[in-house]
């Protein structure tokens, strides 16, 4: 009887022996390089030689805004006050906030997790369907491994690929930031204003990991959905097309329909948990963080269960 770890090795072999996979990886690395290059070029083009003067001006105009504009609500006022506090802190400490550091590059790379998601969705959608397209499903299933075990090995290999891309995304942005701005920015803290109105320092890496974490949650949801679609359609191209279509169109459609209350039960309304962070709002006012987490858990289990049913219970003929 096959061991799970050996089945996972087999699945990895099928992923990494295909040129397509390496094209994807190269594409991701290239995108990170391009993004980092652009950031660097942008800051080089607009040198902030007189940044202190600039900050003083910004602060005074924000002060005026606070005093004169009657239409500001509580949140906006709080934001302005905090920004002013931060700017004052920058001026006191002599920190130029617009000067890029290594962490800005890593932070920015979190916006590329959508690319990681798309690439992993393509791999996931292909994972089961391709075996049918190639006709290798028969040999795969006629062996001392249950279908459940085979499916689990495929899912784990897919998640392994996602993890690899995430590490590459993080690592390459880190390297690019280090090379372009120097690795001495590593210890730079994240500055924010706490509840008592005092500027405090916190760890930059925790902040970056939090950004990654939120993006990874939606990655897991999309990839698991693609995996289910792969198990439903026995053709690679159909599975890839439908997975990408759902992912790209689903969000837009959900936005358009957000006036209906039932929209809150859709996957896409819940998938972006950053909506519950300060300064943002959920798609519908009655939605809460725990509601969204519950919905995501339900969707996740449903995707897994349907994928399992479709893969293990159906006849493999033709």
């Amino acid at each position: 009887m096959s061991s799970l770890s050996k089945l996972i090795r087999n699945e990895n072999m099928k992923i990494y022996r295909r040129p397509r996979t390496w094209i994807m990886i190269a594409f991701l690395l290239l995108t990170v390089a391009l993004l980092s290059g652009l950031m660097n070029w942008e800051s080089y083009r607009n040198p902030s030689t007189d940044w202190e003067q600039g900050l003083i001006q910004v602060n005074s105009s924000m002060q005026q805004e606070l005093q004169n504009n009657q239409e500001l609500n509580g949140d906006q006022k709080k934001q302005l006050t905090e920004q002013i506090k931060l700017n004052e802190y920058y001026l006191e400490q002599g920190i130029n906030p617009r000067e890029l550091s290594l962490w800005d590059y890593v932070n920015n790379s979190s916006s590329l997790i959508i690319l990681v998601t798309i690439l992993t969705v393509i791999i996931a959608a292909d994972m089961i369907a391709a075996e049918f397209s190639w006709g290798t499903i028969k040999l795969l299933l006629i062996g001392p491994a249950s279908r459940t075990k085979i499916m689990v090995s495929k899912y784990i290999a897919t998640m392994g690929f996602a993890l690899l891309l995430l590490l590459l995304c993080f690592g390459s942005a880190f390297a690019a930031g280090g090379i372009l701005e120097g690795f001495d920015g590593l210890s730079q803290p994240l500055l924010s204003v706490n509840a008592d109105g005092i500027v405090q320092e916190s760890s930059m890496i925790v902040d970056v990991l939090q950004k990654y974490g939120f993006a990874v949650i939606s990655l897991i949801m999309y990839v698991t959905m693609a995996f289910m679609i792969s198990s439903a359609f026995r053709s690679s191209s159909m599975a890839i097309a439908f997975s990408l279509l759902f992912m790209l169109v689903g969000n837009t459609v959900t936005m358009l329909l957000s006036s209906y209350s039932w929209v809150k039960y859709l996957l896409f309304a819940n998938i972006d948990l950053t909506r519950y962070l300060e300064g943002s709002s959920p798609l519908r006012p009655e939605m809460t963080l725990s509601f969204s987490i519950l919905m995501l858990a339900i969707y996740y289990l449903a995707f897994q269960f349907i994928a399992w049913l479709l893969f293990t219970k159906r006849d493999v003929a033709g």
Binding site: N10, L139, P144, D315
Partner: protein, 306 residues
Amino acid sequence: MTEAVLQLRNVTKKIGGRTIVDNLTFDIPAGEVFGFLGPNGAGKTTTIRMIVGLISMTKGEALIKGVSVRNYFELAMTHVGAIVENPEMYKFLTGYQNLALFARRHNGITKERINEVVTMLGLQNRIHEKVKRYSLGMRQRLGVAQAILHRPSLLILDEPTNGLDPAGIRELRDYLRKLTKEEGISVIVSSHLLSEMELMCDRVAIIQGGKLMDIRSLQETRDAAQTKIIIEVDDIPAAEQLLASVFDTARMNVIGDQLELTADKEAIPHITKLLVNAEIEVLGIHAVQKSLEDQFLEITGGEMIV
């Protein structure tokens, strides 16, 4: 007959109200090349798919070395290797990488074993080439290599001669013989062509419309087919009486105005002499080489494509 390597018990498949495989019950003895013979659409592939668990059975049970495929799938599959329809492998991998991949599913397949199988099937020269460059015959052999890596008791090949040229078919026959001899494997091959099964199989199950029509030993059938002597004489009862003194009456049979006798061809001069001496007019006497094909066509009602 030694212990059965495969037992089918009331194996039935219905799809959409149509019975595709109908209550198949038979045993396949160990150590033989066993054929599933039947016209296209007879249900051979469907039966094989059920045996290896690709599709579910509507009813019945298949036991491989006594292990139920349904209840102990993983264990049952350690005893079997199979190619169902086309021998599809991962085209972006080399032959060797494919074998390594399939070997990893089993316990204890060494590099030496992989090399041994590669040599046995004559693949050593091109085993490190990508499978997409293989001919059908080579893919077929790689498929067989994959199926026997783990020394299964039973090898199942569905229509293995499809698409092979006569030389390829001869090679297939040769290495199947070698496998049964050197590895002690029992083999099931399916085909709709008797002419191809004839030289390959020890025994065939004839399947038609999803039903088992007959199981025949090809050697016995061949022997029986070659020894019928048809005698045409003017006085049948007299001839019958005369020959009864020499031959076993159980081997004689009167059909119309002909006397059929199961005997060697060499008996013809002797019989002729007897009849002539007894002054019975001999109108004709000849040995009938009723071919295997004729016999099988009788069983299937003429539907077999030979």
